[in-house]
Amino acid sequence: MDLVSPADFVKERLESVQAYALLSWQSITNLFSTPRYLADTLVQADLIGVGSLPITLMAGFFIGAAFALQSSSTMARFGSLSLMGQLVSLSMVKELGPVLTGLMVSGRNASGMASELGSMQVTEQIDAMRALGTDPTRKLVTPRVVATIGMVFILTILADFVGIVGGLAVSRALLGLDAHEYWSKAWQALVAGDIVMGLTKPIFFGFILATVGCYFGLSTKGGTQGVGRSTTQAVVVSSVLILVADLFITRVMMLIFGS
């Protein structure tokens, strides 16, 4: 392995950040001029949304159920088991639903985008596309970004719902709580700020995972080994960025809506 000087290392990283920022910016600005690839966006929405539905629903249900089960002993100790609905719904809507959905979709689709675009890159299909007069950021990146944002948004709402249902199933079956009470507390606990926070996060998470997946795909070098490397990097980087963004969005939302 060649040794790289610290200056070159920093330069390379800065160039990567610059290239990623430019790609992200283009993916948005492309929306305001023609051509727009609506059919490609719908195909991607189907692949990302419908394709990720089973894993998101299953993950949402079981995380809600496990969360209720884990919290029950502590809540019972303080005699507040009846607040289970409130705890689960707030946790799912504000935090677990968006983050879990972001990570699940990232694992499935950021990797898929990186490997698909990476394969196209190493087989010169991206160059061919440019040579044939098509801007790859318009044709490949923007449809994926738009579709991912839309689908992560919808999947998060579904994950939130099934997570609360999972908590209900455990509360009813194992903790002997009243279903009606659980449900009404879960519903009443949510205020506008919680819902705005819970629905803002997936927009950012969808943007992050799609742009990171596309960036690593389009910057793939080194044949099939490079495709594998890009795929892994896309999942790792998008997952970490989602968690980092989660902290910042939570803080900003708390400043706006109060804790």
Binding site: P35, M120, E124, D127, G133
Partner: protein, 283 residues
Amino acid sequence: MADSTSLAETSTALAAPAAAGPDIRFEDVAITFEREPVLDGISFALRHGETKAIFGIAGAGKSTILKLSLGLMRPDQGRILVLGEEVSAMPEADLFELRRRLGIVFQESALFDSLTVRDNVAYRLMEEDVVPPEEIEKRVREALRFVELEHTLDLLPSELSGGMRRRVAIARAMINQPEILLYDSPTGGLDPVTSTTIVELLVKQRDVFHTSSLLVTHRLQDAFTMASHVFDPQQNCMVRATPEQRQQIKMTFLILHEGQVIFDGTLTELKGSRDEYIREYIS
């Protein structure tokens, strides 16, 4: 070989007026990869209707010249003019317009593997969104007939042999009758019989449409064949050119060595060269 009259007519109808200067001009172009200079101040010109074969050892920068011509890469130094436009200074958004006037056949064909042969060949026309579907179908069939692959319309690239993929790539490159064609090792990795079929197609393209072209190749024999043969429409195949016909063939050779152009001239000049490296190269 199949009938090419209608394509030739389309070509004549679509052809834009030739730019006043050469179709491609490189002026003192240099590019470096990983601190290694690949092209070090090269200059050459491709005249209208000319075919220029570019030679050099692996890594000499032959494919880089094609990518620079299309604006897929930017030089570190120098100017590149294509059809009168300075591609080395154009923003990417403007380059897409210019690239529609050029065609390229990539080294490994670079067909879109999720699209059928029909959609691959029609890609450029479908993207332009100005040609009616029936016209697209007609032109796709004509282009595929030109490369004798009309029967592969609904196949995927993975179902084709290497030679067939190159021929589909040629059909895709010529679908809108570009003013310049760029071939990146079109016979690389193919068996001699298939290579001859591809060379015959290049000769046919050159003699039927008179398109200017840059041909990157490792195989001197391919370029020598192109310089010594013409397409005969009566026999529908490539035939050895008469001495008079050879004079008419606009074919030149360019050799790269250590980032420099060490030869740029005709076949006769190449054969008469006294440069030791060139003599060894062509022997």
